[in-house]
């Protein structure tokens, strides 16, 4: 299934036969008593929901791969598994290098803390060292264009301002693997362009492996070289971006 069979260790992301099963309890059980009563009566039923069903693909180092599929097809679940937030029910995922997950920006942001304090908090969660943040604080602030508001609690920020800070921290260094999930739509048009330029510069450098998710099929075609199409948790197609996008579009006709 892999696009490139040569040089096996050169894959930045390897998704090996991953399935994700969610147990949807038929009722919400939130107490011990209910649990034991149901257990004793053998009424503890779960509905199984397969969000991902035996998905496998590999992304070679430096490649930009798109992930397409309609709403609810399991794209976000796939990204969360690759980012390490979710653990797959079956199969395994190998990621070589540091990941910058631009899936959910601003993890750990506390609205009561100032922007400066939040940069350190968020930076620690992204795995940066304190020295690195000290050194690059100015750069982050510069990119977010929020120099005058650094010591203001985040709750006084607009959502656009919060997103700017979050994007600036996550992309301050060149990661090995970049996961982009439509976060480009943060802030105003000017900041969006700035974000796109930064991501483009990562792509151009050739060192960064990018996994790109978007509903805009044009954007995927423009940025990516190959693509995976996931539909209802099943892998439908994998290959060069043109062919996959063509097939994806044709399903609607």
């Amino acid at each position: 299934m892999a696009i490139n069979q040569t040089a096996a260790p050169e894959y930045a992301i390897e998704v090996n036969d991953v399935s994700m099963v969610f147990n949807m309890a038929s009722e919400q059980l939130n107490s011990l008593k209910e649990y034991f009563i149901k257990l004793a009566r053998r009424e503890l039923f779960f509905k199984e929901f397969r969000a991902l069903d035996h998905v496998s693909f590999k992304v070679p180092k430096g490649e930009v791969m798109g992930l397409v599929g309609t709403n609810g097809s399991g794209k976000s679940t796939m990204l969360k598994i690759i980012a390490g937030v979710l653990e797959p029910s079956e199969g395994s995922v190998v990621v070589r290098g540091n990941i910058a997950p631009l899936i959910e920006l601003g993890a750990g942001f506390d609205l009561e803390l100032t922007a400066r304090e939040n940069i350190y908090l968020n930076g620690s969660l992204l795995g940066y060292t304190k020295e690195f943040i000290d050194e690059h604080l100015d750069e982050i602030v510069e990119f977010a264009e929020l120099r005058d508001f650094m010591d203001m609690p985040l709750k006084n920020y607009s959502s656009g301002m919060v997103a700017r800070i979050a994007f600036a921290i996550a992309t301050i260094t060149e990661p090995d693997v970049l996961i982009v999930d439509e976060t480009l739509s943060v802030g105003d048009v000017f900041f969006q362009e700035k974000c796109e330029r930064r991501i483009q510069s990562f792509i151009d450098s050739g060192n960064v492996t990018v996994l790109f998710v978007s509903h805009s099929i044009e954007q995927v075609e423009r940025l990516c070289t190959s693509a995976v199409w996931i539909e209802r948790g099943k892998q439908r197609m994998i290959g060069p971006v043109k062919e996959v996008c063509e097939a994806y579009r044709n399903q609607f006709n």
């Binding site: 969610f22 937030v85 350190y120 620690s124 795995g127």
Partner: protein
């Protein structure tokens, strides 16, 4: 931009280094948020145990304290030690549920959240030691070399609390009942621990059944508090029995907590 970055210092060298930095940031956050917008700020961490001691001294000295030397010191040492346990476990109880937004967004070692709460309680405890020092000064109790045991006692108590924290924090994700239950457990535990009463009251009273005496003796908090009182108040090294009990409880509780946490942590994200 980023091309000039020296990669060797960008990312934490190991998982442990990353977790230590995360823990430091999280504990700092707790600390800042706790005292934000209070006039006295951190002084409350000193004042609180002092005020508690004053109240309890007034209430209890006529009941239990008549035969204990420096009863207020006896009280405050017992009280802050027990508070360290109750504060840290009460916070650890919520730690994983409260970390839901984080757990759903980033890859992070999940044990940091209960540990964060225990460390934060330790920071507060450090400030209450200032209160203890003030009380010792007031009663002219001179500190002795036995205080070198303090780190030993604190490390053991920390491990014990982390063990409980891991266990109840994990279980609370699946059964919110634990949250209600824990308040009752802490209350019962408070009365079963000689914080404001004297253990000799029990042993000297023939009406007390022996199983209650045994229960108090194996009570981990009785042992930790005895350890603390030995080094602060009675100015002696802890007895081998006390030390052994403290070590045993720390190891057992940590093991129990670790096993429960390890068995359940993979399912947290589906329930928080």
């Amino acid at each position: 931009m980023s091309a000039t970055t020296d990669l060797s210092t960008t990312y934490a060298k190991s998982g442990i280094a990353k977790d230590v930095f995360i823990l430091r940031q999280l504990v700092t956050k707790d600390f800042k948020l706790k005292y934000r917008r209070s006039v006295l700020g951190v002084v409350w961490s000193v004042l609180n145990p002092l005020l508690m001691m004053v109240v309890m001294s007034i209430v209890f000295s006529y009941l239990f304290g008549s035969n204990i030397e420096n009863f207020p010191l006896y009280l405050i040492v017992g009280n802050i030690t027990f508070s360290l346990m109750s504060d840290s476990t009460n916070a650890a109880l919520w730690s994983i549920i409260d970390a839901a937004p984080l757990l759903k967004k980033v890859k992070v070692d999940r044990f940091v959240f209960p540990v964060q709460k225990v460390l934060f309680a330790l920071v507060n405890f450090a400030f209450s030691l200032i209160a203890v020092a003030l009380v010792m000064l007031w009663f002219h109790v001179m500190p002795t070399w036995h205080l070198v045991w303090l780190p030993v006692c604190l490390v053991l108590l920390m491990l014990f609390c982390i063990g409980i924290g891991l266990a109840i924090g994990s279980l609370a994700v699946f059964f919110r009942d634990i949250i209600h239950l824990w308040g009752v457990v802490i209350l019962a535990w408070t009365y079963l621990t000689p914080i404001f009463w004297d253990f000799s009251l029990l042993t000297s009273n023939p009406a007390v059944p022996s199983w209650i005496i045994t229960l108090v003796k194996v009570n981990p908090m009785y042992n930790y508090i005895t350890f603390m009182r030995d080094i602060f108040l009675w100015q002696q090294s802890p007895s081998m029995t006390t030390l052994a009990a403290c070590v045993l409880w720390a190891v057992v509780m940590l093991a129990v907590g670790f096993v429960i946490f390890r068995k359940t942590e993979h399912k947290f994200i589906l329930y928080v």
